[in-house]
C-alpha cells in the first residue's frame, strides 16, 4: 500500500493484473490503463481517513441470510437449448481446447 500511495500502480503491476483478469492488451493500452487506474484510485484513497475501528463489514444489503425452500422436483431447460450458444459443441457437450498439456 505504501508503495502505491507514493507512486501509484506501475506498468508491471498493470501487466500482472491483465494476466489475472485474462485480458490481452497492447503495450499502448497497458500504458493508458496505468494512467486511468491511477486517476480512478486517487480519489478513492480518501477512505483511508475514515475511522473503521470496530466496524463490521457489509457485503450485502438485503438482510436475507439463509433461504430454505421445499425440495421439490421440477423440470429444467433442455440441454440442447442451454448449449445452443456455445461456439463449439459435440453432442450435448461443450467442446474446449486442451487445458492440461500432455
Amino acid at each position: 500500500m505504501a508503495e502505491e500511495q507514493s507512486e501509484g500502480i506501475s506498468i508491471d503491476q498493470v501487466r500482472h493484473l491483465a494476466t489475472l483478469a485474462r485480458i490481452k492488451f497492447s503495450s499502448e493500452e497497458i500504458e493508458k490503463m496505468q494512467q486511468e487506474l491511477n486517476s480512478i484510485l486517487d480519489p478513492i484513497k480518501m477512505l483511508q481517513d475514515v475511522d473503521t475501528q470496530g466496524v463490521p463489514p457489509t457485503s450485502h444489503s438485503g438482510g436475507v441470510i439463509s433461504v430454505m425452500r421445499e425440495d421439490q422436483v421440477h423440470s429444467s431447460y433442455p440441454a440442447k437449448d442451454m448449449i445452443a450458444n456455445a461456439p463449439l459443441t459435440e453432442g450435448n457437450y461443450i467442446k474446449i481446447k486442451e487445458v492440461l498439456e500432455q
Binding site: 485480458i23 490481452k24 492488451f25 486511468e36 480519489p43 473503521t52 450485502h60 444489503s61 436475507v64
Partner: protein, 487 residues
C-alpha cells in the same frame, strides 16, 4: 392522442373498450418509427412479435381475462434476458446472444399479457452514465439531441420520454435507472434490494443491482412495480414478503409526513437550478401537509462514491469472468485455451468494462484487499447505519437526483472520473439497499431536472405517496419533448 399516454390511462381505454391492444400497439409503433432515427433508443425492435402479442392480449380482454398490464406495450432494457429475443447487453461480447430463458421479471410481464416492443439500449454491461459506452449505437436525449440521455438505462429513459414505450424496465446499480430518468424527464424507481428478482438480469454488481420500472408517472411506477416484485425461488436474495397493492397507497397524501433534506445534498458541486427545484418541491409538499426538516445531515455521503468504485468493480470482475469464449457469447480463436480466453475478452469487452474489471482485480488482489475492499465494506456499514439513524427522525429524504442536467454528447467520454461523479447523489441508496425514486422536478434551459426521494428499507409505499402527491400538484410530468410528434 395529442397528450402522452400513461399506463393508467391506457389501461382505462382498454378496459372500457375505447381502444384495442392492437390499436394501442400500432400507435406506439408509429411513435417509434417517427422518432427512432433521431433518438436511437432501441437495440432490437420486435414489431412482429408485438403485433402477435397485442392480438393475443385482445383475445384475453374479450374473454374478460384481464390482468393489470394486459395489452400494455412496453420495452425491456437489453441486459434482461428475453427468451428467443436477442439480449446484447449493448456489448460485442453478447452481440449475437439469444437467451434460452426469460428473466423472472420478463416472465411475470409475459403472464400479464403485456406487449414486448423490443430491447432498450444501454451502456455496455450497465457500466456508464451516458449510454455512450454502448457497443451497438449512441442514444440521444429526446429533449435535446445534442445531449446524452444518461445511463446506463439511457435507451429505456429516452423511449419512455417520447412514447416509444408506455414503460420500460431498467436496472440500477449506482443510479442507472434514476440518473437517466432525471435527464429524460421521466419517473425512475430503484426498489429496495431484494424486492424484485434479479434472475435473468445479466449480473454486474450482485450486491447492488436491482431491476425497477421506468415510467411517465408515479402512478404507473406503482402499477408496474406490483407486477414485477415478489419472491422468486431462482433468486435466493429475493425477499419473501407479500407484495402490497401499491396503487392503494397513492392517494394517502403527505399530511403529517416528515421530509428531510440533508445538508450534504446542497453541496457546492450541485447546480443552483437543481437545488432550486428541491426547494420548490419542498414548498409544494409543505402546502400539501408535510413537514420539512432542513436541519439534518448524512456526513458519510462524501465517501459513498469511493465505496461504490471499490465494491462495484470488485463484484464485476468476478461476475464477468464467465465470458471466456467457451460457453456463450463472442469467441475468438487461438493456439490454446488461455489464448482463446484472453483474445475473446480483448475483442468482446469495451474500454469501460475493461477498466472496471482491471480496477476490481486490483482492489481484490493479494496485498490490497484489506486496504480497499475490506475497508470499503466497513464504510458501507457506516453509510447504511447513518441512513437507519436518520429515518428515526424523518420518513423520507429529498434531494436532487443529479448534480446537473443532461451533459453534452462526448463531453465526459475522455475523463472516466468526471463521468463517475454524475452518480454522486444516487449511489448511496444502492450501498444501503434502500428504495429511491427520481421524479421530474422542473426544467433548466429546456432540459429536465430530477428530484429524488429516498425511503427506509421496503418504504416504496412512502415514495409513491409523496411522489404522487407532488405530481398531483405539479405538471412537469405532463410536458413532452420536442421530438414527440402527436398523431
Amino acid at each position: 392522442m395529442k397528450d402522452l399516454l400513461t399506463v393508467a390511462k391506457s389501461r382505462h381505454l382498454l378496459t372500457s373498450k375505447q381502444i384495442s391492444a392492437l390499436e394501442l400497439t400500432k400507435e406506439i409503433l408509429r411513435c417509434i418509427h417517427a422518432t427512432e432515427d433521431e433518438v436511437a433508443s432501441y437495440v432490437t425492435i420486435t414489431e412482429e412479435l408485438a403485433l402477435q402479442q397485442a392480438d393475443q392480449a385482445d383475445k384475453c380482454i374479450q374473454k374478460g381475462q384481464m390482468h393489470s398490464l394486459t395489452g400494455i406495450p412496453m420495452q425491456i432494457k437489453d441486459n434482461l434476458s428475453t427468451a428467443n429475443v436477442l439480449t446484447t447487453c449493448s456489448s460485442n461480447m453478447l452481440r449475437n446472444y439469444i437467451p434460452p430463458f426469460n428473466a423472472t421479471v420478463v416472465e411475470k410481464l409475459r403472464k400479464e399479457k403485456t406487449v414486448l416492443l423490443g430491447k432498450g439500449n444501454m451502456d455496455e454491461f450497465a457500466m456508464g452514465s451516458s449510454t455512450e459506452n454502448s457497443a451497438i449505437k449512441r442514444t440521444y436525449n429526446p429533449w435535446d439531441l445534442t445531449k446524452v440521455p444518461g445511463g446506463s438505462s439511457g435507451g429505456p429513459a429516452a423511449s419512455v420520454a417520447c412514447q416509444q414505450a408506455l414503460f420500460s424496465l431498467g436496472s440500477d446499480t449506482g443510479g442507472s435507472i434514476r440518473q437517466p430518468a432525471a435527464f429524460c424527464g421521466i419517473v425512475g424507481l430503484k426498489p429496495t434490494y431484494g424486492l424484485v428478482s434479479r434472475y435473468g438480469l445479466v449480473a454486474f454488481a450482485s450486491s447492488l443491482d436491482q431491476v425497477g420500472p421506468m415510467t411517465r408517472t408515479v402512478e404507473d411506477s406503482a402499477i408496474v412495480l406490483r407486477a414485477i416484485a415478489g419472491r422468486d425461488r431462482a433468486d435466493a436474495t429475493c425477499l419473501t414478503r407479500t407484495v402490497p397493492d401499491y396503487e392503494k397507497s397513492l392517494d394517502k397524501g403527505v399530511k403529517g409526513l416528515r421530509i428531510g433534506i440533508p445538508t450534504e445534498y446542497f453541496d457546492p458541486e450541485i447546480d443552483e437550478t437543481a437545488k432550486q427545484s428541491v426547494i420548490d418541491a419542498a414548498q409544494v409538499l409543505k402546502e400539501n401537509g408535510a413537514t420539512i426538516d432542513w436541519d439534518i445531515s448524512l456526513p458519510s455521503t462524501k465517501y459513498a462514491l469511493a465505496v461504490y468504485y471499490i465494491i462495484a468493480p470488485s463484484e464485476a470482475s468476478a461476475n464477468l469472468s464467465r465470458y471466456d469464449g467457451v460457453k456463450f457469447g463472442h469467441a475468438s480463436s487461438g493456439d490454446n485455451i488461455w489464448d482463446v480466453i484472453e483474445k475473446t475478452r480483448q475483442e468482446g469487452f469495451g474500454p469501460e468494462v475493461k477498466r472496471r474489471i482491471m480496477l476490481g482485480t486490483h482492489v481484490l488482489s493479494s496485498g490490497y484487499y484489506d486496504a480497499y475492499y475490506l475497508r470499503a465494506s466497513k464504510v458501507r456499514t457506516i453509510i447504511t447505519q447513518e441512513f437507519k439513524n436518520i429515518f428515526k427522525k424523518v420518513d423520507v429524504l429529498l434531494g436532487p437526483t443529479t448534480p446537473t442536467t443532461a451533459f453534452g454528447v462526448g463531453e465526459k467520454m475522455a475523463d472516466p472520473v468526471a463521468m463517475y461523479k454524475s452518480d454522486i447523489l444516487t449511489v448511496p441508496a444502492n450501498i444501503a439497499g434502500i428504495p429511491a425514486i427520481s421524479i421530474p422536478g422542473g426544467f433548466s434551459n429546456n432540459l429536465p431536472l430530477g428530484i429524488q426521494f429516498m425511503a427506509p428499507h421496503l418504504g416504496e409505499e412512502i415514495l409513491f405517496r409523496v411522489g404522487h402527491s407532488y405530481q398531483q400538484s405539479t405538471s412537469w410530468h405532463l410536458m413532452h419533448p420536442p421530438v414527440f410528434k402527436a398523431n
